[in-house]
Amino acid sequence: MAPAADHSTDTVLNARADARAQGGQVSDWMPYLPASTSPFCPEDVDAASLTWAETVAPGSYTHKVLARGTRFRLEDPTGEACAHTLVYNALEPTERLNVADTQKIPWQAYLGTGHPLLSGDGRVLATIVGDTSGRHDAFCGTSTAAWNALRYGTALPEGPAPAGRDLFVKAAAKHGLGPADVPPSVSFFQGVRVAEDGSFDWVGSSGAGTSVELVAELPLIVLIANVPHPRDPRPEYIVGPLRVHAWRTPETNPTTQADERFDAAPEVRRAYLNTLDYAEARGL
């Protein structure tokens, strides 16, 4: 039976009633509004403090503007998520994630707890403050349409194997940013390691139920594309749902001198100093 047979939509009144009857349904992937109603609120978080709660569909994307000091946690419930992530200073989006500085300044290529996500302007946009996965990547970026066409035979944005870059371009557009504003990204939950000869060893996921938590050191535009890592060796386009929760309480603050991570390394200390200086001058 055609779906239309389940609907009575012959008049405006009937059509309206039919549309309204569809409200209240749930999906495996959807935003939860208000955020405090999230069915997946992390145990250690007060639901009332949530400002963003969402399960991002496999092969899709999300984006949000977050206040300074917000904590946000990405969870990989199936072990198959891959959270390609970009962050921008929401006040001046020309300041954005700079992957080269993010690897070079801390003298460390692999992302983990304490690692700052640096802009090209000598400041910390976000800090990784928790990580139970340990399998991330800052080398390979996200997928392009050309790559997915090669790997999966299709990369249509509306098709079964959309490319991360194409999703980023749309997410960026929703904040007034164009294709030139989509720089190299980092990805969480699917890792690679660099071998002696420079080749990438695929380490993939560390399994279901891991999470990464970040703190917004400045007001942020956050873009996330949940698509397979470009070096995922499997021939199929495999990606799982991604859970996102963000919250704000009197205890969630940007990093200050009071935090141990502030003094973890001299380079990072100066990056925090630059960030606090900027925030202070702007009256944040």
């Binding site: 020309t94 954005r96 700079n98 992957v99 080269a100 500085d101 690897q103 070079k104 300044i105 003298w107 460390q108 290529a109 692999y110 640096l118 090209g120 302007d121 000598g122 400041r123 080398f139 390979c140 970026g141 996200t142 392009t144 349409a145 050309a146 790559w147 870059r165 164009g178 294709p179 030139a180 504003d181 989509v182 720089p183 190299p184 990204s185 390691r193 660099v194 002696e196 000869d197 420079g198 080749s199 990438f200 470009p230 070096r231 001299p266 380079e267 990072v268 100066r270 990056a271 630059n274």
Partner: protein, 263 residues
């Protein structure tokens, strides 16, 4: 379309030694605000080399230490970059000359070839995964695209706030990019010709002593018309130029034969 010049005149290095910015202290002493060593030392060996591929030279220019450069390399032409003084990082960004929204992408270049380093045969890809240029000859073991560019801002992180006014590659990219309508949003992770950035087993990563030498070269064939931006790295706080900034030479040739990469 392309004008072939049979007897190209090398544009001379105009700023060697680099003119220093000075001011007079109250006791009459002239002090420079340019970091010591910003021009190369007297007696530095310089090897000017020549094109890596046979063919008519259509452009032959020198890039002074600390300076920037840009040029369009037409599809099929080959750009030879000469590391004249040895271990001089040529920070480099590439753009589709007809649509600069399409630009060099370090992650796509690395992900497609499944390797973190640039060597002979590496296809330098755009943010659409398309080939911009191909490395057809390379006289050092490997080239870097992980280390990014130095900048006034990142220098404050790496070395301290006292170096805030040191010149940096991002400054050069902004200056040179502005000539082509490019700005902050157009500066992405770059290539560093002749710079050495190993990734160690535990993920330790950093700029270490170079593997190049005076006269070492790399040759890039343009697959599409490509706008090339170069910053001849002025960094004086790490080994990206052996702490002795030297010139680069940029040579564009029309190769005699359809040149194929040998890797």
């Amino acid at each position: 379309m392309t004008t072939t010049i049979n007897n190209p005149v090398m544009r001379p290095v105009t700023t060697v030694p680099v003119p220093v910015t000075t001011y007079l202290t109250p006791d009459g002493q002239l002090v420079s605000s340019v970091p010591v060593g910003a021009s190369y030392a007297d007696g530095s060996p310089l090897e000017w080399g020549g094109p890596l591929v046979p063919g008519a030279v259509v452009l032959d220019e020198q890039v002074a230490p600390r300076a920037s450069w840009s040029g369009v390399v037409r599809a099929g032409q080959v750009l030879t970059i000469v590391d004249v003084g040895g271990n001089q990082s040529g920070d480099c960004l590439l753009y589709n000359a007809h649509d600069t929204d399409e630009r060099y992408s370090a992650p796509d270049t690395l992900a497609w070839q499944d390797n973190a380093y640039i060597r002979t045969g590496t296809v330098l890809r755009s943010n659409h995964g398309r080939a911009l240029m191909t490395v057809i000859e390379n006289e050092i073991d490997r080239q870097d695209t992980i280390g990014g560019a130095c900048s006034r801002e990142s220098n404050t992180l790496r070395y301290g706030h006292h170096v805030m006014y040191h010149h940096g590659c991002r400054e050069n990219f902004l200056t040179e990019g502005a000539k082509h309508g490019l700005g902050m949003r157009d500066i992405v992770s770059n290539i560093n010709w002749f710079m050495n950035v190993p990734v160690e087993e535990d993920g330790a990563l950093g700029i270490v002593d170079g593997m190049s030498a005076p006269g070492k070269r790399v040759a890039l064939r343009a697959e599409i018309d490509t706008l090339v931006l170069i910053s001849n790295c002025p960094q004086m706080n790490n080994p990206c130029n052996d702490f002795n900034p030297t010139p680069l030479r940029m040579i564009v040739s029309e190769p005699d034969v359809d040149y194929e990469a040998d890797a």
